[in-house]
């Protein structure tokens, strides 16, 4: 019982990933969408940790750190954009940003 099957780790990752995905699809609030993306990225990170652990290599963790960096940069630019959008549209509704179509 001590050895955790590697698939379980991946299953956790995929469940979280899917939850993030669902959230992204059903939420209209743009901040929620950003949060959902973070959940998904985190899930991908879990998958890397699991893989690294499977092969007993540090590479998975290194990748996680890079993902972390990217997530941070993403959130910062994203929030700046959200502020911008809120000032222009006075709403956080992502569906309101549909001026361009067709």
């Amino acid at each position: 019982m001590n050895v955790i099957p590697a698939e379980y780790g991946l299953i956790l990752a995929s469940v979280l990933f899917t939850l993030g995905l669902v959230s992204l699809l059903i939420r209209r609030n743009i901040i929620f969408m950003l949060i959902s993306v973070e959940i998904m990225l985190n899930a991908a990170g879990i998958a890397f940790i699991v893989a690294g652990s499977k092969w007993a290599q540090p590479d998975g963790q290194v990748m996680f750190i890079f993902i972390l960096t990217m997530a941070a940069a993403e959130v910062s630019v994203g929030l700046a954009l959200i502020l911008q959008m809120y000032h222009q549209l006075k709403t956080l509704d992502s569906d309101a940003a549909n001026k361009m179509k067709g």
């Binding site: 019982m1 050895v3 955790i4 099957p5 590697a6 698939e7 379980y8 780790g9 991946l10 299953i11 956790l12 995929s14 469940v15 990933f17 899917t18 939850l19 995905l21 669902v22 959230s23 699809l25 059903i26 939420r27 609030n29 901040i31 929620f32 949060i35 973070e38 959940i39 985190n42 990170g45 879990i46 940790i49 690294g52 652990s53 499977k54 007993a56 290599q57 540090p58 590479d59 998975g60 963790q61 290194v62 750190i65 890079f66 972390l68 960096t69 990217m70 997530a71 941070a72 940069a73 959130v75 910062s76 630019v77 929030l79 700046a80 954009l81 502020l83 809120y86 956080l92 509704d93």
Partner: protein, 175 residues
């Protein structure tokens, strides 16, 4: 060890479900912190103590705080919760749920199709990670610096009119 993994996983999943079903942003964020903490435990169990710590500091700490800052700054009040309720109606959920569950089923099928493998129980210590990071991946580290730089410059330009909340925070992280 395994039992901790399962419990933490369960908590992570449940907390995440809570996150995505909350109407109140702040509540959701609090659940998100719980989820991240649970994931941190999972990391620890999987032999990545350094990452577990980073998960707590950066995800549960910095990023969530950043989000809360913005929420406070935008001064989202009660009506936004009501709005969220209205947006979060039943009909809109069905389609995405079906799609997501198809995807999940397929993923689960694929994940369990491979040969079962155990996870190593050896801890990969922070030192090993560091050696790797500043060994073969040193150019990667430098690239991630550049990545952050572009993040800063962008956030600075886009958020310029505001008090430079985002800006200062990111600067701190750059060090």
């Amino acid at each position: 060890m395994a039992i901790i993994f399962y419990m933490a996983s369960a908590i992570a999943v449940i907390a995440t479900v809570m996150v995505i079903t909350r109407h109140n942003l702040v509540h959701a964020l609090l659940y998100l912190v719980v989820s991240f903490l649970a994931v941190a435990i999972v990391f620890y169990v999987l032999g990545a103590p350094f990452i577990a710590v980073l998960e707590i500091i950066i995800y549960a700490g910095a990023i969530v705080v950043l989000l809360i800052f913005v929420i406070m700054m935008l001064n989202l009040r009660q009506e936004s919760v009501a709005q969220e309720k209205q947006w979060f109606s039943g009909k809109i959920i069905i389609g995405p749920l079906i799609l997501a569950s198809i995807l999940l089923v397929e993923m689960l099928y694929i994940l369990t199709s491979g040969e079962p493998a155990g996870l190593s129980e050896n801890m990969i210590e922070a030192k090993a990670v560091g050696m790797s990071l500043y060994g073969p991946y040193v150019l990667g580290v430098e690239l991630s610096g550049i990545l952050l730089m572009s993040g800063i410059v962008g956030a600075y330009h886009l958020g310029r009119q505001k008090k430079k909340v985002t800006h200062r925070f990111l600067e701190k992280k750059e060090e």
